[in-house]
Amino acid sequence: MIVENVIAAFAEIGNVKTLLLMLVGVAGGLIAGAIPGFTIAMAIVLTLPFTFGMPPSQGLATMVSVLVGGLSGGLMAGILTGIPGTPSSVATTFDGFPMARKGRPGLALGIGVWSSFCGGIISAILLVTLAPQLARIGLEFNPWDYFMLVIFALTITASLAGRNLVKGLIAGAVGLLVRTVGEDEAVGMARFDFGNDALLQGFDFIAVLIGLFAFSQLLRDIHDPVSAQKSLSEKGSINVRIEHLAAIRELAQRWTIVLRSALIGVFTGIIPGAGGSIANILAYDQAKKASKHPEKFGTGIPDGIIAPESSNNAVEGGSLIVLMALGIPGDVTAAVMLGALLIHDVVPSPTFIAEEPVLAYSIFIAFFVATFMMLGLQSFMLRVFVLVTKMRMYVLASIILGFCGIGVFAINNVEFDLWTLLWFGILGFVMRHFGFPLAPMILGVVLGNIAELNLARAFAITTDLSPFVTRSWSLFFLILAMFSAAFPWFQSNRGKKKWTLFFPTFMAFSLALPVFMMGGTVRPILALLLVALGAYLLWSHARNGWRLEEVSEPRAEIDEA
C-alpha cells in the first residue's frame, strides 16, 4: 500500500514544472535560511501567495522545498560568518566557524551539507513510514482527546518558549483570544466585532502570523541604527569551494553520530513546542557526551558539525509526522505549514492520509526530493549567498516589508488584512520587548479554532465534563500538559532540590495509568514498562543515597523561530 502511494506521489510531482518550482523553492529557502533574521517561517509565509494559483500538490511541494532549503541554509552563515542563519543552526557555529577559521571552510561546509542531507533523508523515510501509523492512532481520538492535545501543545510550547512560564501561558491565551474575534465557527455568531464589519470576518491568521513574526523580527534586526547599516559579509570569509568527497569520508567514519542525531531530531520534532533550536543543541550535547574526546568540541572538529546539522534537518520530518497525521503543528514553522495546507484546502487529520493518499504522499515525497535538490544546489547557492550578504540589513528589511505588504493583500484581496499586519506587527514588537514569547501566541492563533470546535463537538455529545479525565487519551494529554507546565520549575531546581529526583518517576507512574486504560495487548505492556522505568529511577536514586547530581546540560528552551 505504501509503495503504491509512493509511486503515485512520484508521478504526481514528477513533472518538469513542479520540479522547477521545487528547485526555485529550495534555492529561495537556502538563501532565506542563510540570512540571519530572515527565518524559515517567514520564507514560507512569503512564498505562500505565489502558490495560490497552483494545484495543491504543486503548491505544497514548493512550500515543502522552501522548508527543506531553509533548514539547510542556516549552516552557510553559521560556518562562514559565525552568525547562525537560523536558531536551529546555533550549535553548528560552535565547531563550524572554528574549522573555517582554521583554513578548512570547504570541509566544514561539506560536512554540514552532507549531514543535513543524511538527517533529511532519515527523517523523510520515517515520515513516510510513521505518519500513516500515527494517523491510525489518531483515529482513536474523540473531541475530548483532541481538545486536550491542543492544551498540551500550548502548555509545552509556553513552558519551553521563555524563561517565564506565566508570560508564555499569557501569550498562548492571547493567541487563543485573537482567534475568537469574528463569527464563531460552530454556530456563526458574531464575537468581539464592536459593530465593525471588517472585524466580523475575524483576523486572517496568515496576516496575524506575518505581523507577529516577520514584522516584529525585521524591526528587531534594524532597531539598532549601527547594525542596520551593516552587511553580513563584513564578518568572516565567504569565498570557498565545498569539499564533498572529504566530507563524505568524515561522515562515513561517524555514521553513528549521524543516525543518533537524526533520531534526536525526529523525536524532538514530534514533541509539540520543541523544534530545531532545541534539537541541534541536544544532539551536539549528546555527541559531546558520547565522544572519547569531549574536550575537543568547540575547537573545530567534524563531530560538532555533524550532530547539529543531522538533527536540525530531521526535526521538520518529525514535525510533519504529527502535522499530517493529527493536524497539530508542533512549532511555528509547522504552524505556518498548516496555514499553507489549509489555504490549499488540505485539512490534515487522522483520516486525511487514508482519504487523500496521493496528495499526502506527494507532500512526503516532496520532502524527500527537496532534500536531494538541496544537496545539489548548495554549491551554486553559496555564490548567491555571497551576493546577498553584501546587502545591508536595512535594505533587506525594507524590501521584505514591502513584499509583506503585497503578499498579505494577495491572500484574500482584502485591505483589512494589511491593517491586521500592521497592528499585529506592533503587538509582536511590544510583546517581544516586554519578554513575552511569540511562539505560544502563534500556536494559540493557529490552534484556537481547533480547540473550540472540538470543545463544541464534545458538548454536542454530552455536557458532562468527566470524559476529559475518564477517556484514556484525554487523560494522557492532560497529565502531559500538567507535567509540561511544571517542567520549568523542574528545570530550574534540578540538581538543587530533592523533589526533582521524584519528578521523572512520578511522571512515568502517572502516564502508566492512561496507557494501561487504553487496553489491547501492547499498551498495557507499555504501561508496565513505564512503571518499571519509574521504579528503576527511584531505585537508582536510592542507591546513590538520594544525592543531587550536578546538571551540566544546556537549558531546553526554544527560540522564536
Binding site: 506565566v166 454556530v187 516589508l401 500592521l422 458538548f459
Partner: protein, 171 residues
C-alpha cells in the same frame, strides 16, 4: 511609596483588557441551537487569562521588575538620552517603520500597491540608510526593481488584482 514596575503595569493593563472583553461577551447572541454557547469559549480563555494576569501581577509586585535579560531583547545596551526625545531617538527605526507603513496603508486607495509600495520601500530605505545622492539612486533602483518585480509577478503571472489606486487606474 515605590512606583509600580513595568511588569505590574502590563499586568494591570491585561486585567483591564480582560474586563472590557468579558463585558463585551455579554453582547454575544446566543442562538436557540447548539449545546455550547458562543460566549463560553471566549469567557473560558478570558478567565484563564485573568488568573494568569493576577499571578503575573503578584509575581511582579513580590519579586520586583524582571531581570534585564528576561525582556527588552531590542536593547543594545547603548546609552540613552533621558526624556521623550531620548525615547524617540532610541526607537526611531521601528517608529519610522510603523509610521511609514501606516502612511502606505492610508494612501493605498489613492496610490495603489505599485506606486505606494515603491514609495514605501524607497522612503524606508532612505530613512534608515541615509539620503546621500548615491544612495538615493541605489534605493530608487532597488525599490523599483523589487516591488515592481513582485507586483508584475502577482499581476501578470498569478492574475492577482492588487489595489490599483486612483492615480494608476486613471491610466
Amino acid at each position: 511609596m515605590q512606583p509600580l514596575n513595568r511588569d505590574a503595569v502590563i499586568a494591570i493593563v491585561l486585567l483591564m483588557v480582560c474586563g472590557v472583553l468579558f463585558w463585551e461577551t455579554f453582547s454575544i447572541r446566543t442562538p436557540d441551537y447548539g449545546q455550547m454557547k458562543p460566549s463560553i469559549w471566549p469567557r473560558t480563555i478570558l478567565a484563564v487569562l485573568s488568573v494568569l494576569s493576577v499571578i503575573y501581577l503578584v509575581q511582579s509586585l513580590r519579586h520586583g521588575e524582571a531581570p534585564k535579560d528576561e525582556y527588552d531583547d531590542y536593547d543594545t545596551g547603548a546609552p540613552r538620552r533621558p526624556g521623550i526625545a531620548g525615547w524617540i531617538v532610541h526607537w526611531r527605526n521601528p517608529l519610522w517603520c510603523f509610521a511609514l507603513f501606516f502612511v502606505y496603508l492610508v494612501t493605498l486607495p489613492y496610490l495603489g500597491s505599485l506606486i505606494g509600495g515603491v514609495g514605501f520601500v524607497f522612503t524606508l530605505m532612505c530613512v534608515l540608510g541615509g539620503w546621500a545622492p548615491k544612495r538615493l539612486i541605489l534605493h530608487a533602483a532597488v525599490a523599483l526593481g523589487t516591488v515592481g518585480g513582485m507586483w508584475s509577478i502577482f499581476t501578470y503571472g498569478l492574475g492577482v488584482i492588487l489595489p490599483p489606486g486612483e492615480i494608476f487606474s486613471a491610466y
